[in-house]
């Protein structure tokens, strides 16, 4: 394997690590807001890292420009979706988690 392939494989596996950590957070956290906290950040970073790994593997071509557009769109769209979801939850009165309620 060349050096650039090693770099792209490292980027992809770190992205997969972030995605699995976000999925664990979605399963384990007790509240809607904390679950969204895990989902929004871990997913955005993991997907952008995987697409960055594909850009390093591809080199400089038309296809890597398309992948750059895709990662830019994910960086733009994912926080907007998270904000819309959390605004809908707050305005319709989803209850927040307190430590006394769970015991």
């Amino acid at each position: 394997m060349e050096a650039l392939h090693v770099v792209s494989a490292l980027l992809m596996f770190s992205g997969v690590f972030f995605m699995i950590a976000g999925a664990l957070g979605i399963i384990r956290f007790p509240d809607f807001y904390t679950r969204l906290h895990a989902a929004g950040k871990c997913d955005t970073l993991g997907e952008v890292l995987i697409i960055l790994g594909f850009m390093v593997y591809e080199g400089f071509s038309f296809l890597s420009v398309k992948l750059l557009f895709l990662s830019f769109f994910i960086l733009l769209a994912n926080p907007v979706g998270t904000h819309a979801l959390i605004r809908a939850a707050y305005l319709t009165g989803v209850k927040m988690w307190k430590k006394e309620e769970s015991q």
Partner: protein
Amino acid sequence: MEMLDVFLAVGILITVSILMTMYRVFRGPTTLDRLMATSVIGTKVVVLLVVIGYLFERPIFVDIPLTYAMLNFVGTLIVAKYIERGELWKPYT
């Protein structure tokens, strides 16, 4: 270790994380939990489509994830707006 093995491992691990997120779709307490989990699955599937395109050595498939990302984003926004206001096209007062 060839590069195709790396792509296969990344695709399998993304599928595992999708299956872990499906738990929240099946038993989320509120509707917004299910909506959040489906949105997360949609953005994971975008990356999975790129991985599948490289795995089958047809990287020109990148056009399909671009379209799917835009459709998933619009769907999440519309359903969140509907849950927030009760109807779709009510203007701001």
